[in-house]
């Protein structure tokens, strides 16, 4: 028989880990979506070598976007790992 209290505990631990992952990613999202662009004026004084972009402009035009894409692939992997750890993942 499945022990319902241990199931409950497992669910809670799983959700705690999931929430932590959510907050981590939200923090990264907030940093690259907003915070970094607040410093566009000083960042524009830096020029990326070879390519010639001012850094502040580059972050809004490409840098943050690349971070978002990479983040999403990482998130899919990390969340799946958490689900597997607790046995809540779908069968492959």
């Amino acid at each position: 028989m499945v022990d319902s209290t241990s199931m409950k505990e497992k669910e809670e631990a799983h959700w705690a880990k999931t929430s932590r992952l959510m907050f981590t990613h939200l923090a990264v999202w907030f940093f690259f979506g907003f915070i970094i662009h607040m410093f566009v004026v000083p960042l524009n004084k830096i020029t990326i070598p070879i390519l010639g972009f001012p850094l502040g402009f580059y972050m809004a035009a490409q840098g943050s976007l690349i971070v978002f894409v990479v983040m999403l692939f990482m998130f899919a992997k990390q969340q799946d790992k958490i689900d597997r750890e607790f046995g809540f993942a779908e069968e492959d």
Partner: protein, 658 residues
């Protein structure tokens, strides 16, 4: 397309091959047209061939994917692999505004335009982390399905449908408007006719096969639109900088633009007022509005029903998450190229138009001048004589084009790049086909979202829960047709606010859906009453702010303490409220955009596009407070929420499918 067997498992197992052959076929078709052009086939014929060939392919896919099964019609049988769902979402997401308008916005606004690039990409992070996969596990057909289940029935469902229709209908009207614009420009059809021709293109994709047909045409449309968007700019970059990745080479163009800006100021070719340095921030939007637009577009993305429902079609929760990542990758390919378009065009305009003698203007410009899309010295730049005459009329004009003499419509930037690069007409035709694909695919997704909400949520769930499958599908198709015709009829009247309305859709979706969806998954204690009150309060406030600032600005000032928005550059108010309130038309309702206060008043200097910034926090607060005041949701409901949070196991909602 011979290998395509109507979406059966044969088809699903061979997706790579089918779309590989399709892509090869499309490229061969482009080459064929290029050859035809060389042997002297007129441009107009090439334009028609492009449009009709691509439309025919979409129609064939639409017909082959017809279905009589409810789950196929609403969620493509939940069998779309992550990668392909990502492509379909990319096409669903990128509208005519992204394809044709985005680069133009960046051209005009410089750095400030990047608010849209950021806003329309970063939202997918929220989709994946907060909402999408959980709704997939829940097993809904539509977003209102989830609201109804979680928040106690049909009242919440009705609110969900209301929000959905409010944000999707204006959006779809803008897409149909976009198809009309592209078809009329390239095929020379009258605009009204082109709108209804575009409508036929949209309907053949979605009528027979619902979500399944829309999915597989959207994949095909994504391939066309991304090839069309990248080809001209890759060639241009290779020609100019000897390197075929424009996203890397345009850094040089930006440095050149910045140098040229100083030069133009020094030479008296640009007035300080007319020149907006390309990389300097906060010239068009105040910092508050810049970040408010980013936030509203991002959160709006995560709340738009036609995007969320795409993730209902994947085979598993795991694939739903991967699919969001693929979606953003495919969207990123276009969005990180748009600033390159803007930079290359701007450099061309600044070096080859501004500062030139009026008689030595490059001829590509006259094609667009004839259509009224480029003006020099206040007159359409149709030919050299016209602009020389127009500039002569200006006292003290130096005889060379100055920045302040030059006005360009934002749509021209993408459409004219092939000509600027001196490419053959076939590339222009390709771009038109791409623009059309972008508009059609988005319109398909939106129409389906609206029609599904009406047929599934309103008809089946609220009016006649006993309806047999056959009747449900007939009703779904009839409603799809009706919504499409109403949207096309609205688009044919060329409503003035159409483009602004797309921005509004994001704020409305954000204020109406986001708090209820997020709290429904992430806080078990959220009660039905709390959610319903939150939706009404958040959506209501957002709608109130939009409608008042746009349609009743006088009343907004008089009764609600609104003040003028601020010019971000000078810090001065946009309108002198005291003077404007003294005018006889001050209290006019539903004024045109020419009204001195329309769209120019508000609270806290907040642009009305970003009204979600007011509604969403209110929505969260109301849900929180009202939920705490009420009784905890039942044990069963809390168990359901636990179920949604675990990918393993059956979906919470089991739909009757036969």
């Amino acid at each position: 397309m011979a290998t395509k067997s109507a979406g059966g498992s044969d088809f699903l197992n061979n997706l790579g091959r089918v779309y590989g052959i399709y892509t090869g076929g499309f490229l061969a078709f482009v080459v064929l047209l290029a050859v035809l052009e060389q042997v002297g086939v007129p441009n107009k014929v090439l334009g028609y061939l492009f449009v009709f060939f691509t439309l025919a392919v979409y129609a064939i896919i639409g017909v082959l994917s017809r279905t009589a099964q409810v789950s196929e019609y609403y969620v493509a049988g939940r069998s779309v692999p992550a990668l392909y769902n990502g492509m379909a979402t990319g096409a669903d997401w990128m509208s005519a505004a992204s394809f044709v308008g985005m680069a133009g916005t960046l051209f005009l606004l410089g750095y400030d335009g990047l608010a849209w690039v950021l806003g329309w990409t970063g939202g997918f992070v929220l989709v994946s982390i907060l909402i999408g996969p959980y709704l997939r596990k829940f097993g809904a057909y539509t977003v209102p399905d989830f609201l109804a289940f979680r928040y106690g029935g049909n009242f919440a469902r009705g609110l969900g449908v209301l929000v959905l229709v409010a944000c999707s209908f204006t959006y779809v009207t803008a897409q149909i408007y976009g198809t009309g614009l592209i078809a009329s420009r390239f095929l020379g059809m009258p605009f009204e006719l082109a709108v209804f021709a575009g409508l036929v293109g949209i309907l053949v994709c979605s009528m027979l096969g619902g979500m399944r047909a829309v999915t597989w045409t959207q994949v095909a449309q994504y391939i066309v639109l991304i090839i069309a968007y990248l080809t001209p700019i890759v060639i241009l970059s290779t020609k100019k900088y000897g390197f075929p990745i424009p996203e890397l080479t345009y850094g040089q163009a930006i440095a050149d633009i910045t140098a040229r800006e100083q030069q133009m100021l020094a030479a008296g070719l640009a007035s300080v007022a007319a020149l907006k340095p390309h990389i300097q921030p906060f010239l068009s939007y105040s910092p508050l509005n810049f970040f408010a637009i980013i936030l509203c577009m991002m959160v709006g993305t995560a709340s738009l029903p036609h995007i969320l429902m795409r993730y209902f079609t994947t085979p598993s929760v795991r694939e739903a998450r991967q699919s969001v990542a693929w979606s953003l990758l495919f969207i990123f390919l276009l969005y990180f190229s748009a600033p390159a378009y803007a930079a290359f065009s701007k450099l061309e305009v600044y070096t080859n138009i501004i500062g030139r003698d009026l008689t030595a203007i490059r001829p590509w410009l006259f094609n667009w001048g004839e259509l009224g899309l480029i003006q020099i010295c206040g007159k359409n730049a149709a030919n050299i004589d016209a602009i020389v005459a127009a500039c002569k009329a200006i006292a003290g004009h130096p005889g060379v084009v100055r920045l302040q003499d030059f006005v360009i419509n934002t749509d021209v930037i993408v459409l004219s790049t092939p000509e600027i690069a001196g490419l053959p007409y076939v590339i222009s035709g390709l771009v038109a086909a791409g623009g059309l694909a972008a508009a059609l695919s988005t319109a398909d997704g939106l129409l389906l979202a609206i029609a599904n909400a009406l047929s599934h949520d309103v008809y089946y769930k609220m009016i006649d829960p006993g309806a047999p499958t056959a009747r449900r599908l007939v009703i779904a198709r009839v409603l799809l047709l009706m919504v499409a015709v109403v949207a096309a009829a609205t688009a044919a009247t060329k409503p003035g606010d159409i483009l602004a309305m797309v921005g509004w859709a994001f704020s409305l979706a954000m204020a109406g859906n986001f708090p209820a969806l997020v709290m429904g998954v992430w806080w078990k204690r959220t009660t039905a009453t709390g959610a319903v009150c939150g939706i009404i309060a958040g959506f209501g406030l957002c709608l109130f702010y939009l409608v008042t600032t746009r349609y009743f600005p006088g009343a907004g000032v008089k009764y609600f303490g609104m003040t003028s928005l601020i010019n971000p550059l000078t810090g001065a108010p946009l309108v002198d409220i005291a003077k404007a309130m003294a005018l006889p038309n001050a209290m006019e309702s539903f004024p045109t955009l020419a009204h001195p206060m329309a769209n120019k008043v508000g609270w806290f200097d907040l642009n009305n596009i970003a009204c979600g910034l007011l509604g969403t926090p209110l929505g969260f607060a109301v849900i929180y407070v009202v939920s705490l005041l009420g009784k905890e949701p039942s044990k069963e409901m809390q168990a359901y929420v636990d179920d949604i949070r675990k990918p393993r196991g059956r979906t919470v909602l089991e739909e009757k499918t036969t």
